[in-house]
Symmetry: C4
Subunit: 276 residues, 4 copies
């Protein structure tokens, strides 16, 4: 009996977690469709005209999706060997977060819109596609981002300091009578201006304020070069490394990534076959 | 008789499709002028004041262009060996699309503005110019874009997910009373903000909304680094490849990468064959 | 007696200026917290609703912070060997500037908002963190910025000239009746437009004005490539230099550029000394 | 007599055109100051409040500057050997253009604002500074721009085509009732949106219009990568070339730019001294 349950659990595991069997692949694709349909339902539900006419149908659909996803979440926990590991994983948390808003909405009206977080589940698609090339490319991007994280952090810290200084200066110059109601609002204006978004909901009116704004704008325009430069340089490095890794492997110690001009393995000293 | 038609067809083919004869070149240039004149006519026609005064003349001109282009389309099909191949090609479709709106406008008023799609026909200019250097440079750009398409796709997918999450969050925070009428509208706002366009037609009014907006803006400002970095890295690689292909190898010591002005191998002193 | 004071001064110096002792580290962290709390106090004070309710408490807190920072400033001067060198240093000036606004506000109401300049003191955090990696990365960024300063200066000079020309042209075309009140205002508009901020507080109304604006916008959109390109190229160079400095040279054949994991020279097979 | 005039002309030439004598340098600096003062005068003159109070003084100053610049222009023509060459040169045209608006304003009121074109004369500063490093850096930038001009042209051509297509599409979708008055105005909106400026003077109101706008915005946001990538790649190449040129020169044929690994001159086959 237990063996049968075990076998059944294993089959379920293969269907839900893997996608190398036709049925597993089918499950993954069906899941993607359900997620997108569910997110679309919530979006349409928020449109007043559609809500008035099809409110009930959408409400039913939302609950249907919730029940299905709850069921799926239960099965995911049930059929995996180490359920805790899944529950605390990135996707485990996303999966839980994407069903709770519905139940929450029973007590808190409006909370059901939080269901859109379900969209994050589609990020699984990269796993579903199981395209080695996709994974490789995504890894290169992620590695470049990781390699630049310290530099980006320094940049962000400096920018934040600048934003506070610029915001407060503008508050002093323009003041509440020109829409710079208080320092937090002025910092919001700094963000809008430095990032070159420029909503125009708050704009400087005084001559001095416009002069300072010009400095903020030119600063924002020029320093975009910094994160771009950081990421580009790291990505170039990462791509070169990748290309190098595609090169030769030592026949004795199996160490990969020998450069084109190498005659000997740099790890074990073995003579390498001539590079092509 | 048939031979004469064949000969005539071939001459026509050379005039219309090729540009190495003076008459073929003349045809191409005349076509470019006609296309631009036709697009200008449609633009002017859309300006109310001009339309009121010269409406009839512009209408006549539009039909003249349409008849000419229809004739040209017919000849293109007639004089080519494999008409189907042309019809389903990129330019074949553009050519067809640029004449249909006029005929459509007989039933559907306003449709004639769709004629501006004719502007896409001027992309042929690169072929007309027949400048090898232009083609080379365009190829480098296209290769770099192709090489980065997987990475760009991953980036776009992640951005789309972010836009939905940001949009829905702002809908929940700001709500219809502050212009965030529904989730699709809020996603439109996300796009406006993340891409740093910042129309200002919809802006956050609450403190929390402004704080979240600041995050969206800084995200948009910083992640522009990602596509830029991807394309720059790929383009650098592509340009290096191109330069390597232009370089020479020593016939004695096989050392590669000799510059264009080199007469002797810089490693072994051997005289190099003249560069082309 | 004098020796005791000397000893006391030295201990104080270690606590305030260094962070390798537990108490020194504690002092630095406490200082960071105080600075952030102080900046937050000023921000909250500027919000009308909060000011009305907690005005007195915030006023007291501001003075408390000022007294503490004044005390700290005095101790910094007292315990260092060369006080003048500290006073005229970057952080010495920031430290002085961050206490003066409070005293100034006794005569000049509103001046106390200038206290936000205190935020610049948190830049010390990099020194506090004493993370070698952070310092290294920051150095790379600063070196790249220094290396590109001449090129950036040329770019900025050219942009400024362009801004004046574009601004004046728009003043002539649009004139005061369309919001381009005078040339300085039109130059402000140029900055808003060229940097792609686009507040929309001043916009062209005439056809010619819109055509010129389109040129300004496309210019701004395209030339962002220049500072980005400059910084990226310099950063790449700087990072390569850094990597080379991290690499090793074979003691036998002198071939440079051996990677960190290399045990043997890849050219002559010689065993390399262990990497640090 | 003639010799004396010749001698006097030559001295004048040295003062006006060269800056290696103290008096020549003094002349150049005085000229820069005059140009900036003149531009400032025109700017202030355009401010209504200042004009009302100091209108006469500014008017007098403008004429003073004009007379001085006219005199300088005359002397420049008089003291140079080939006046025609100067007159048709870039700076010759700028010099002429910067005095004509004043005389034009006698017949055409308002024309005197065109005097701001004088600002372009300050570009001479690079020549005045005579800093070799500045010239070198500017050359690198200009070379990179020249090297990328074909690629940038292809990019600009494609963008223009896109702008027309996007603009016309939006005209059809939104129409005059939503501010998209005619196709040229819609193309202006395309430019505002694609370049991420986003004034907000014209914004889409319909759902379909907003969806298309989102596409325009994301396109604009992503393709900024193209010019940036082009310029960055060309600049990197140019900087590498420059660094190479700093390397070694052949002792026989004086050919510069030998790479670090070169043992023989690649032009004349001469053995090179070992690289340091």
């Amino acid at each position: 009996m237990r063996a049968r349950i075990e076998g059944w659990r294993h089959t379920l595991y293969q269907i839900i977690y893997q996608s190398n069997t036709p049925i597993g692949r089918g499950f993954d694709i069906a899941l993607m469709v359900l997620i997108l349909a569910s997110v679309l339902t919530i979006m349409l539900d928020s449109v007043a005209e559609i809500n008035q006419e099809y409110g009930k149908e959408l409400y039913a659909a939302e609950w249907l999706f919730t029940v299905l996803f709850t069921l799926e979440y239960g099965l995911r926990i049930f059929c995996i060997h180490k359920p805790i590991k899944y529950i605390v994983s990135f996707y485990g948390i996303i999966d839980l977060l994407s069903i709770t808003p519905s139940y929450l909405s029973l007590f808190l009206p409006g909370a059901h819109y939080l269901q859109v977080i379900r969209i994050l589940r589609v990020l699984r698609i990269f796993r579903v596609l199981k395209l080695v090339r996709f994974i490789n490319q995504a890894n290169i991007l992620v590695n470049a981002l990781l390699a630049s994280r310290l530099k980006i952090a320094i940049f962000m810290f400096t920018i934040s300091t600048l934003l506070i200084v610029f915001g407060s200066t503008m508050y002093l110059i323009e003041g509440p009578e020109n829409g710079f109601t208080n320092i937090p609002v002025s910092i919001y204006w700094s963000v809008v201006t430095l990032t070159t978004v420029g909503f125009g909901d708050i704009t400087p009116k005084t001559d001095l304020g416009r002069a300072v704004s010009a400095i903020v704008m030119i600063t924002g325009y020029a320093i975009i070069a910094v994160p771009t430069g950081i990421f580009t340089a790291e990505l170039s490095k990462e791509m070169k490394k990748q290309r190098k890794a595609d090169q030769r492997t030592c026949p004795r110690c199996r160490h990969p990534g020998h450069e084109k001009d190498a005659n000997y393995c740099r790890i074990c000293g073995m003579e390498l076959p001539p590079s092509h």
